[in-house]
Symmetry: C2
């Protein structure tokens, strides 16, 4: 890319290493950044480096946070006896957006995947088991509805069941607003199996 | 977004101010950045701030560059008597990618648009006229084929014609590989008007 001067090409190159940012988008972003006020560019880069440097795992639920304990775990008003197990901090955020879940979370940072060589020891599973030594009443498994997510859910349920703690899995079925004819057979069968009394 | 800790939300917020980056993409980018090695994040932010600080207009063609003269203008091998007028540095790069244009450029940084209140004095037009005092033989107008681009092209040609310098406009027509039935009437008419002898 020698039709741009050195620093512009370097910027485009670095931006295009980000996920979902191709060559064209990287160019557009680069020229946007070059047209932004200097202070704003400095603020953006400072936010990036500061966030990256200060980020750590919450010592309780292992979500990404910038303190020793995340805002959810340090909130006394929440029900610390109900733990929802999710694969990532973004999944946690998705449930938090509903605003209806009162319990706490446990972030696994991945799912068991023999295909990718990710075993039970590669995700935060030991840490979940350690947390169960406290006064936990229910573990809600909210891993994704993918092959890996289901495998992980089965594995966790088998591990926890013997301790007598209640283990549940979020329901699988037709999404709200979903059009039946556009939904795959497996989901339709799951919805049928999981039918509830009206 | 209080379901993320302060620094993560700030990062997501800042990223989503970039063009074409919505809330979901900003989240994905933020978590990618948080998972990158610290040095890489530092490198990215340094590239951003350095590029922004050192960027300036080339003193000859007004493209964005990090030196007083851009690599194209300082290249003695190029034909400095042929100037291609483009709207932006990205348009310049688009023509440079073809690798066939031997002349130099002039970047207007915009186009005349009465709708947006952009007049001839708001783009680098005076600077173009000043350059014509040298030994220029041809001005090729390669502004976009939009209303604003066409208006700008007409304006420039009327301005330069009296000086006796040759003024040309890049051809308008059916794109290579284009399917006739998918092309609008105006383009089809242009292609007909601009037909060439075989």
């Amino acid at each position: 890319m020698d039709y741009y001067s050195g620093q512009i090409s370097r910027l485009i190159e670095e931006l295009s290493t980000l996920p979902g940012i191709g060559g064209k988008t990287a160019q557009r972003l680069a020229f946007h950044i070059l047209n932004m006020p200097v202070e704003q560019v400095e603020k953006l880069s400072l936010t990036m480096t500061e966030a990256r440097k200060n980020i750590c795992y919450c010592q309780e639920c292992y979500t990404l946070t910038d303190k020793e304990h995340c805002p959810i775990c340090s909130n006394e008003a929440r029900d610390h006896q109900t733990i929802m197990v999710v694969e990532s901090t973004r999944d946690l955020a998705a449930y938090e957006k509903t605003g209806k879940f009162e319990g706490v979370y446990h972030v696994l940072h991945g799912a068991i995947s023999p295909m990718l060589g990710i075993g039970p020891n590669d995700i935060k599973l030991k840490e979940l088991i350690q947390r169960l030594e406290g006064e936990v009443q229910e573990v809600i498994i909210a891993t994704n509805s993918s092959l890996e997510g289901e495998t992980t859910a089965m594995y966790i349920s088998k591990l926890i069941k013997p301790t007598g703690i209640r283990v549940t899995r979020i329901a699988s079925g037709v999404p709200v607003g979903g059009d039946l004819e556009c939904i795959d057979e497996v989901t339709l069968l799951r919805a049928l199996e999981g039918r509830v009394e009206l």
